[in-house]
C-alpha cells in the first residue's frame, strides 16, 4: 500500500516524531511504499539543520534525511507553519531579509495543499502529533 505520514510534534520535546520515525521503518519493513511525510504545526522543527542534540542521542533530522535517501520519501514542510517558528529555506530567508537559513533539501517548504494531496493519493495517512 501507499502510506503518507503527518507529523505535528517537535523532536525531543514531543514523542510524535520519534514514534513516527519508528512507524515509518515498520511500514517499509512490511513492504509498503512510504510516499511522503508532511511536517505541520511544531513538526516543522524536524527539518532544522541547526538541531544539535547531545552526541549520544539520535539527530532526528538526519534520520528523516536517511529515510529520504534510502527510500525516496518526500519530506514536505508547511511553509506558513515553518516561517512563524523560525524554520526557513535559503530562498525564503533572502526574501525576508535574513542572512541565515536552517532548512535545505531534501526537506521542501510547501503549501498546506500538499497535505491534502498526500491524503488523497495515499491509501493510508497516519497522524503523529504532540
Amino acid at each position: 500500500m501507499d502510506y503518507g505520514l503527518l507529523v505535528m510534534g517537535a523532536p525531543y520535546s514531543q514523542p510524535a516524531p520519534h514514534s513516527a520515525l519508528r512507524f515509518a521503518h515498520a511500514v517499509l519493513a512490511r513492504g509498503h511504499r512510504l510516499v511522503g511525510v508532511f511536517f505541520y504545526h511544531d513538526g516543522v522543527h524536524n527539518a532544522s539543520m541547526l538541531m544539535t542534540p547531545p552526541q549520544d542521542e539520535l539527530n532526528l533530522r538526519d534520520a528523516w534525511k536517511a529515510l529520504h535517501k534510502e527510500h525516496d520519501v518526500a519530506l514536505d514542510v508547511c511553509i506558513a507553519a515553518a516561517l512563524r517558528r523560525g524554520v526557513i529555506s535559503q530562498s525564503e530567508a533572502s526574501r525576508h531579509g535574513h542572512d541565515a537559513f536552517n532548512l535545505e533539501a531534501p526537506f521542501e517548504l510547501t503549501g498546506l495543499g500538499q497535505l491534502l494531496t498526500l491524503q488523497q493519493r495515499c491509501d493510508r495517512l497516519i497522524t503523529f502529533a504532540s
Partner: protein, 121 residues
C-alpha cells in the same frame, strides 16, 4: 486513491492557547479551496473557538474569530458541535456565533465513517 466523502476537520483546541486552532482552520480552508466539501466538528475545548464575544489575545496573538466568520465564504457552513460538549463545558448556545448545529451522540458517531478523510487538530 479511494472514493471519498467530504473532508471532516476536527478542532479540539481553544483560541489563544496554541496555534492548533488557527492551523486546523487553515487546513479546512485549504481543503475547501481545493474543491473538497468540508465539514467542521468542534470537540472539547475547541467549542470555545465559537464564542461570539472573543477578541484578539496578548501581543502577537491574533484573533481567530475573523477566520470563523470567513468560513461561510468558502462554503464551509457545517459548524457542528456535540451537544454533550456544550453540556460538559456549560457553554450556552447563545454565547456562540450564528450557524452552529449541535449534534446528538448518534449524529457525532455517524460523522466518523471509514470513507471520509479526517484531519484531527
Amino acid at each position: 486513491m479511494r472514493e471519498s466523502e467530504d473532508l471532516l476537520v476536527i478542532i479540539r483546541h481553544a483560541p489563544h492557547d496554541s496555534n492548533w486552532l488557527r492551523e486546523g482552520l487553515d487546513a479546512a480552508l485549504v481543503g475547501a479551496a481545493f474543491g473538497q466539501s468540508v465539514r467542521l466538528l468542534f470537540m472539547g475545548q475547541g467549542a470555545l473557538a465559537l464564542c461570539r464575544e472573543q477578541q484578539a489575545g496578548a501581543p502577537g496573538q491574533k484573533a481567530s474569530l475573523p477566520t470563523i466568520d470567513m468560513l461561510e465564504m468558502y462554503d464551509i457552513d457545517q459548524l457542528n458541535v456535540p451537544q454533550r460538549v456544550l453540556d460538559d463545558l456549560k457553554l450556552p448556545l447563545e454565547a456562540l456565533v450564528d450557524g452552529v448545529t449541535p449534534l446528538s451522540e448518534r449524529q457525532v458517531k455517524a460523522l466518523f465513517s471509514q470513507n471520509r478523510p479526517i484531519l484531527n487538530f
